[in-house]
Symmetry: C2
Subunit: 153 residues, 2 copies
DNA sequence: TCTTGATGTTGACACCGATCACATAACCCG
DNA sequence: CGGGTTATGTGATCGGTGTCAACATCAAGA
């Protein structure tokens, strides 16, 4: 089920994903999902948790600049996953402990590369904001890669 | 109708707003809304355009630091409006000319206060990202105001 | 063998966005 | 004043969604 959801997430456009759609793709009735997940949020949270793990390891060890660029590149390459993980699709990420833990781990990696807690927050804010703006088309950039290289020093 | 929608936006939690809900609040049938707006997106776009105007004038003339802090404060004080204006609720902002113009005006104000186009983008990205992270609870801050003052120098 | 639990199903409910055919009210022009 | 056009509203309906209750199946374990 999570695999099917993943495929839809990568195929679909805006990261919004319907429980019934996932069930249909899994060749199963919609209500069957409720045997395994409390509700739609729980399904999405489980999905996000899987990706947080991958994302955290991909970032680990890189420089602050490298992490920042990777963050934005990930958002542009995998909009669905990014929107799920870092967007408002999960109403309250804090409500899902595994997810909160994964998020904290990723931020810890960032903090380790920064020279101070405030600098880590600024760096996160910068790449988070640029990723969203680029994804939403608010920043019209013909060559996004060049822009990333220029803006993340 | 727009006024009712505004009230719902400020009262509601996550900025998501249903056309039927607005119509109900206006004491009118849901279909009546389609006499005045092409679809739900058009209603939201009109709503956002009104707020963009206010927002732009509120920002005009301030320093880059002042604008940045005001941006984040606005997001925290009026989550619904902020999410509507700067979030993914409007699938394609570019499709609504008035909205695109208002957005461009706001960014022009920012650019005027920045020392270079890249610096303007970085500043926007930073406050945009911090606003979203604070709003989503990703950054647990007991004293948000102090954090803003510290992070936006 | 009988019971229990996990897993699935069908059917239903309420809500949503959207569109249709139809009614009414307001308005302008002769 | 009257008649016709337009603006604005209504209900019914369609396909979609998340969610729930009631029922079916089927693989162990006692």
């Amino acid at each position: 089920m999570l695999d099917r959801a993943d495929a839809l997430l990568d195929a679909g456009g805006d990261g919004a994903i319907s429980l019934r759609e996932v069930a249909r793709a899994a060749g199963v009735s919609a209500t069957a999902a409720y045997r395994h997940f409390a509700d739609k949020e729980a399904l999405l949270a489980a999905l996000a948790a899987r990706h947080y793990a991958d994302f955290g390891t991909a970032l680990a060890g890189a420089s602050l600049t490298g992490m920042g660029r990777a963050y934005i590149r990930f958002a542009l390459a995998r909009p669905g996953r990014f929107r799920l993980m870092f967007g408002p699709l999960l109403a309250r990420a804090a409500a899902h402990p595994e997810l909160a833990a994964a998020s904290r781990a990723a931020f810890a990696a960032l903090s380790a590369a920064a020279s101070s807690p405030d600098e880590a927050l600024r760096a996160w804010g910068l790449v988070h904001g640029l990723a969203h703006l680029l994804l939403d088309g608010a920043i019209p950039a013909p060559d996004q890669e060049a822009l990333i290289a220029r803006l993340i020093p």
